[in-house]
Amino acid sequence: MWIILLAILLYAEICVGATLVYWCATNPDEIELAKRLVKEWNHSHSETTIKLQPVPAGASSEEVLLAAIVAKTNPDIYSNMLPAMLNKFVKADTLLRLDGLKNFAKETEARIGATILKDYRSPDGHYHQWPWKLNPVMLVYNIDLFQKLNIKPPRTYDEFWTAAKKLTADTDGDGRVDRWAMSPSMTVMWWQRLYDFLPFYMAATNGRSLLNQGRADFNNVSAIAVMDFFQRGFARGYFPKSGTVSNLFAQQKVGMTIVGPWALKMFERSMAQKFNFKTIPIPVPDGHHGPAYTFGDPKSFVVFKNTQHPEAAWEFVKFMTSKKADKLLLDITGQIPVRKGLINDSYYKEVFVRRKNLIPFASQVPFTKPGDNSEHIVEILDFLGQQYEASAVYGTIPANKAIENAANHVEHIYKNW
Amino acid sequence: MQGLELKNLEKHYSGNDQPTIRRFSAKFEPGEFVVLVGPSGCGKSTLLRMIAGLVPVSNGAINLDGKDITNVESNLRNISMVFQNYALFPHMNVYENLAFGMRIRKEATQTIEKTVTEAAKILHLQDLLDKKPGALSGGQRQRVALGRAFVRKPKVILFDEPLSNLDARLRIEMRQEILKFHEQCGAISIYVTHDQHEAMTMADRMIILNQGVACQTGTPEEVYNNPVDQFVAGFVGSIPMNFIHGRGILNEGRSFFQVGSYKIDLSHIGKDYQLDWSKNSGGLTLGVRPEDIYLDEHYSHAVAPSPKMAAQVKMVEYLGDSTIVHLEGDIGSFKSRFNKDLRVRKSQKLDFVFDLKKLHLFTEEGNKLPC
């Protein structure tokens, strides 16, 4: 009896066609976007059904994904892959090579362009990710406050300190400073360095990487200058040394903050009092030439090698990054699609007209870098974080010593692991 | 005045409706061994603990050798207590247990050693001094507890069921030890027990306590032979007194106790009861101790026999030195104690008589009628 039932079920399965599991990020905006697109796909593609699921809860999506791969419960498609983390998965041979798939070159040319794509190439020369979106990390400042205090938006460290000096104040006269320049993170979580040290380092070096062929490539004056920048900020009291997690920028307790475009909506939602803000590139050391690069905070689509339907998955990835889907991404989440000529494309114009504050981020895209793609990146950034904490936050070691320690540790890691 | 005097002692635990001890008065002479008995929960321990100073007194006074010690700290009263569970300090050896109080009081080492050695000698603890209580037998532990009381040279020693954790044989042995110990101490001993034998054999004087009230005080013989009321009569004695419920009647100017078809002439009991039985509806209880019941024809001439009555044997308990026979007849169920040589069988029918000289009469309220 049950054999017959099983047979019927199997048959039904075959008739219905392929089912692919897709994991998206867990923030509400991205879930909404994914829901809309998946619904549309399932409506028009009867042969392949997509099952949407936000990444299950865990300490970080990377850890959840790893656990899933080990347990063989990973999805077919995942859209929240950090390119910096990719190599680990490539080395373990868990990801599908995309450049062997139908029309890969053509699709690339149409959406991304060869120059940008190069940044996403795996060390073996192949492509295992499909660049999806960027969140260029930039400096957002409170225009109203700046105007009131007559401060110029800072482009260099010098200008930054001038601004910082004016911003840092005791506004209610109780003898305690209650407004600061900005509030960089004090914690050692490895990914925090992607939003403080790394963007400043990229800005100071025209987008240089931390690593070069398995060696530390950051034991230089620029890195020391960046570390020194943060050390000064904390030491002079321009950055608060508090453990608070509350959003000081929205409360106007700091005049500047370093974020990607995804944060703008959040600011608007959590402002106690409305104020205007503006986005500019990350400040650079005095005498710097050229544009201010920054960390792009990219996320890519990947397809797992153990999928039963690679071609269908690839079709879905293309669907999710189509012209139309990219527009929805921009509109719903405020994140920037990795699409060449986006800002000048008339198709997207109406979004930028409605959401002007996305323009600076979109304009920054050509000057972004995806970060180093190393299987040791977490450990490297973790150790860098400890040095950042010691040098910048607590000032117990000089900036050059911190950079030297971190660089030595990179050697140590590559030697031992 | 020498000795211990309790004046109208009262104890009312907060939260209880009824006082636990009511207007308890008594005097204790030096060297006296007084046994306190009473049913469970009647307040014996409470009384001892008030004397010891472990529970505050609600009302009344305690005088020791003429000094009011009602509110004196327990350790300053010159009173020792021996507990049922010995209350030894389990982590200290026998020596340390005996020396504990003196050490607390910071007495000189030589004094301590001398006193402990003396106590150990009296209580045969010399070989056990470095053992911990856990390694001792029950009797040995009890001797350590006695020793701890002894070294204080108290004026009063309070015993709260000290032997009830021991087996029967050891208990009998320890009785003698305690009495000897009592003599050596020369203190007033107040001794609580549930064991009738213990009470009767050890006591100079007994106090029977019921619901916080002292019912009777007297030597064991007095209490046994002349209980003041039905409660005492029923309480004292290892096999309780039989109570037979009947009626008092007046017939031709003479009083009779009537139960079923039997009539017992009360004039033989020793007093001629010229009572108006109709006044208290005539209810009357006859008390007779098991040993005062005889089989027809087996009684000696010292006995004043009642009319012959019939009963059937329900159960026989052979004790060796005597035999307890449970009987049932027209007068109800009762127990009798017979000579060990007597052979009776279950279901056997027999005739028996009471010794009229040993009967007790109680009103319906449990008050004793004079005999």
Binding site: T244, A390 | F89, I104, R105, R148, R152
Partner: protein
Amino acid sequence: MQSEQSHSKAGILFTSPYLIHLVVFFLYPVGFSLYLVFHRWDLMTDPEYVGLRNFTYLMSDHLFWQALTNTLYFLVIHIPLQIIVALALAIVLAKPLKGRVFFRATFFLPVVISGAAVTILWQRLYSTEVGLINYVLSLVGIDAVPWLTDPGIAMPAIAIMATWKNLGLYVVFFLAGILAIPQTVYEAAKMEGASSWHEFRYITLPLLKPTMFLVVVMSTLGGFNLFIEPYVMTGGGPLGSTMSVVLYMYKQAFSFQHMGYAATLGFALALIIMVCVFIQKKYLDSERYY
């Protein structure tokens, strides 16, 4: 013959739930970690045999030694604090107070609340600017204390929190120990003239020795497993001052995917705990009286 065989079959059948449990939840994990000690494994690729390299790395890994020092520092604060506070409370709660059932339950509450929830609560309490603790201190004129952001204060702060969290459990242990001591022993002592201090010093304390040993061993085990508090509150900082061995192990395993090294750390920790408990047993264990 026949029946003997069916007997042994039945025996296996009856013991199988336990055997399966033993194998699945104990032998297999322990065996597998022992295997991992000699391997490197990133979860995804096959484990690679490395001999004793994990051990040699451990020996020279100053981050591990710092974590171990931190953990020992935590224990040195936590255990005495735990014992003193729990014992004091147990003594108070052993007295016939009004509402003591309520208090006993209240102190036990944090024990059953999830560690993460408690930790998040305390993170708020400890907040330098907006925390309740600093607010209360400010009322009596004490300056804000950077509880979790000062490298010298963070670990003691965590020890205080851990003490609070486990307090109920140890109060229950001590309470059980105290209530097992017959009241008459205290009365006997009182009649000998013992003061409250004497009673505590010469009776309660020595008779609680077995409980004390239990509490010391349990809080040592718990203390070496310090994890959720620094994980949630400080991430091991500031300046690595709250990086515990287990948190470091967690980081090696799940942040860096150094499974073999994490297993090595686990074995090292187990060994250290064993040595500690052995020493404690030698100096603290005693006979039980009740």
